[in-house]
């Protein structure tokens, strides 16, 4: 990929997807603070999938090695 190629693609892209800075409407349509307040009141939406996966792994581990339960309780 030469500099000439990059300039060619840049021109092609700017013609196909004009830069936002050249668009007439580049500000939010509304005040976003009320939506922000609603979001703050909601708090965190749901539990991340990773947390569920971690919980499932711990449950499986405890089922396979019940002797580990006291160790886990000790560390909690």
């Amino acid at each position: 990929m030469t500099t000439h190629d990059e300039e060619h693609f840049k021109r092609l892209l700017k013609q196909s997807l004009p830069p936002i800075s050249t668009q007439p409407r580049a500000d939010p349509d509304r005040d976003l603070w009320p939506a922000m307040l609603r979001r703050l009141e909601q708090g965190s939406v749901g539990v991340p999938w990773f947390d569920w996966a971690l919980l499932a792994a711990v449950v499986v581990w405890l089922a396979l090695f019940p002797s580990a339960i006291p160790v886990l309780l000790y560390h909690l």
Partner: protein, 179 residues
Amino acid sequence: MAALEQPSDVLQQFSRGDLDAFEALFREHQGEVYRWILRMVRDPAAAEDLTVETFWRIHRAHARFDPGRSFEAWARRIACNAALDHLRSAPKETELPDDLPQPLQPDPGISQEVRRKTAHAFGRLPPKLRIAATLALIEERPHKEIAEALGISTGAVKLRVFRALRLLRKNLRQQGMEP
């Protein structure tokens, strides 16, 4: 509550979890954060939602913010992560509007069909490459600024742009177009 007059006071109070300071920062920076996100997702409705999501993440991480550092740069980085998450969860081949925005100075040598195919091929790039190429080639932001926002080196930005162009060329060829 104490008056929020000095910017550094606002940042100090924000880092301690003060909601008024957060509102002051929100009102001061929402436009810039919105425009930064709009550059990446190119959808005004999604950009509004992601602006709120970005400030939610900023609020949640207030205790980790160092008031001695740039709030704008920190916000841009969080906005990039929110935009990346959005693009990853969106359909791989985003539907394009029938009426693509017109460039300010249309090039008569580039037809509407070529523009459509290019936009379509670009929309098929992996989000990480698409964001780097959008900011570097379309919006022409400095590589250093892009690197800071994406949390990578300037060399990595150049590499992502290079890979994006190589994939774009391949996608265009698949559509029967020789770039």
